[in-house]
């Protein structure tokens, strides 16, 4: 169980995290979604006691992380898979963590096996690892102490599709076993695939949160027509909100109403259905566009240099 309450983190005049509140429940995989620079990593660093909040609080299993006597045994943390000493072998990296936590030496090989790193790979230096292998090693470190909570920042980065599937199954099993999982990602598809609950953050603020089903369920209607422009105009004329979405339009009207509008306008409709999650996706794309370098709406200058 993770509880973030009114968490704010400022760097000088720049507010990286702004009054963020959410909980990640036991037995659930909570996806922390947002574009790069939205404040995800900063939030997770505060959660893991690596940064001090400006105000607000973050607790894991009812305690501040820094107050946990031997945190590795309760919370598995992977904040950056590339933040591992390149000069050590994968195995040595795990041995150090195993000794720090005071675990039996056998845990090292168990963890290596769990994440699918072979003994030969484990003998290589981390410098020579691919990002995917570093992710596996980082997850092995996080799982070493058999924790109840997992906090993973962008764990799917660098994993191939099979690796992502492997991780989804791993996290699913962990959560089904009553564990709490909080993982961040800047990719909606990734979060959709893995998470039960979603917390979406943009520019340091929570913009949407709920179960995946709630958030992805009918945020309006998708209308596809031969003449999309005319379809959009007809819906707008009938007083509905319209958002173009590729060769279709999204509207806040329900499917029945949208169908009647199309019929009245005499426009042949090729597809008409409740839009699945288009609302969330739109919101996410908007957030991404607002911070993307090549977006038409430029990012605020303060955004650059923000913690990813």
């Amino acid at each position: 169980m993770i509880t973030i309450t009114s968490l704010t983190k400022r760097y000088g005049p720049f507010t990286a995290v702004d009054e963020v509140s959410f909980t990640a429940a036991a037995g659930r995989v909570t996806g922390f979604l947002g574009p790069n620079g939205a404040g995800k990593s900063t939030t997770l660093r505060v959660l893991a006691g690596l940064a001090a909040p400006t105000s607000g609080s973050a607790t894991v299993l009812g305690a501040r992380y820094a107050d946990l006597p031997n945190p590795g045994l309760e919370v598995g943390v992977l904040l950056d898979a590339s933040a591992q000493h390149g000069g050590r072998t994968g195995r040595e990296t795990l041995v150090l963590a195993q000794r720090t936590m005071g675990l039996p030496a056998a845990r090292v090989d168990e963890s290596l096996e769990l994440v699918g790193l072979t003994p030969a790979e484990a003998r290589r230096r981390v410098r020579d690892y691919s990002l995917g292998m570093r992710q596996r090693l980082g997850i092995a470190t996080a799982l070493l102490g058999d924790p109840r909570v997992l906090v993973l920042d962008e764990p799917a980065n660098g994993l191939d599709p099979a690796g992502i599937r492997w991780m989804r199954d791993l996290l699913r099993t962990f959560a089904d076993d009553g564990g709490t999982v909080l993982l961040s990602s800047h990719l909606l598809a990734e979060i959709e695939m893995i998470a039960d609950d979603i917390v979406m953050i943009g520019s340091g603020r929570v913009v949407a949160q709920g179960t995946k089903d709630e958030l992805l369920r009918g945020a309006g209607t998708l209308v596809r027509a031969d003449d999309v422009v005319a379809a959009g105009a007809a819906l707008a004329a009938a007083g509905h909100q319209v958002t173009p979405s590729g060769d279709a339009v999204l509207t806040d009207a329900d499917p029945a109403t949208a169908g009647r509008v199309m019929f009245a306008a005499g426009l042949p409709v090729t597809e008409l259905r409740a839009s699945d999650g288009a609302g969330l996706e739109d919101m996410f794309l908007e957030l991404t566009a607002a911070t993307a370098r090549d977006a038409s709406s430029p990012a605020t200058p303060a955004m650059t240099g923000a913690a990813a």
Partner: protein, 268 residues
């Protein structure tokens, strides 16, 4: 779509929650291992040993036997050895940042002061071990030098001198450690360390040659020269006091400021 079922019991709920903080001794053992388990750390440690043995061999082979004495060997071997050794102290701290292992280290042990103490303990051990190695090389060089050079073995160091050499070794390591704590970046700290032990003393003596007031003040503020007074046959109360003020200025003060910063800085 995964059906969500409320789990009967949260994971690990049956296990008692840990109550014992990671013990300092165990952590010191981990930090000792970290000094030597990377290629750079291992080679640096090997270099220290090779330099000790190598310079002993060179001295016996090249120097004239009349100058041979135990003190001569110990002092001559010690200089290069104690130039290199403190770099282990520098890297023990800075590699956490330069190689970004700090993210894992401090996630596993959020009490940063404890991690720092755990780093200092094995480094002190390394400083003592290095000095003992230097003494051992000095003994062997004296015996071999006497045999090959046809001179008597001269044992000219008192227990007091040995102890002061040990203090010298610990102070040298402390310099490396403090530079690491203050700068937290391997390249910057290594350069700063070398400047401090190689360039600052010469600058200081150049200043002393040209400025009258600094000639008197210098010994009180320049650490490396004050430290080398520990090499002397005897050490006066004034020299101890100078070592004290210079250490206060260059070790204690930066250490306190560096630790304050390190305890608060965001680990990324």
């Amino acid at each position: 779509m995964t059906a969500v079922t409320a789990p009967a019991a949260p994971r690990g709920a049956s296990r008692p929650r840990p109550t014992v903080p990671v013990p300092l001794g165990r952590l010191a053992g981990v930090e000792l291992r970290k000094i030597f388990d990377t290629r750079s750390g291992l080679w640096l440690a090997v270099s220290v040993a090779v330099v000790a043995v190598g310079s002993a061999a060179l001295l016996v082979a090249l120097e004239s036997p009349e100058s041979f004495s135990y003190q001569f060997f110990v002092h001559s071997i010690d200089y290069p050895v104690h130039l290199l050794m403190p770099m282990l102290g520098v890297l023990a701290v800075t590699s956490e940042w330069s190689q970004r292992g700090a993210l894992t280290t401090f996630a596993l042990v959020p009490r940063r002061g404890r991690v720092l103490a755990a780093k200092a303990l094995p480094l002190a051990g390394v400083a003592v071990a290095t000095m003992l190695l230097t003494f051992a090389c000095g003994v062997v060089a004296t015996l071999v030098g006497a045999a090959t050079g046809g001179v008597d073995a001269v044992w000219d160091m008192s227990l007091d001198e040995h102890l002061r050499m040990l203090a010298f070794s610990l102070l040298s390591m402390a310099v490396g450690f403090v530079v690491g704590v203050v700068l937290r970046s391997s390249p910057a700290a290594l350069v700063a360390y070398l400047l401090f032990v190689l360039v600052v003393p010469s600058l200081s003596s150049a200043l002393a040659a040209s400025l009258d007031w600094y000639r008197d003040a210098g010994p009180w503020v320049e650490l490396t020269s004050a430290q080398y007074e520990l090499y002397g046959d005897v050490m006066t109360a004034e020299q101890w006091a100078q070592l004290g003020t210079a250490s206060l200025l260059w070790l204690v003060l930066p250490f306190v400021l560096g630790v304050r910063r390190l305890l608060r800085v965001e680990i990324r």
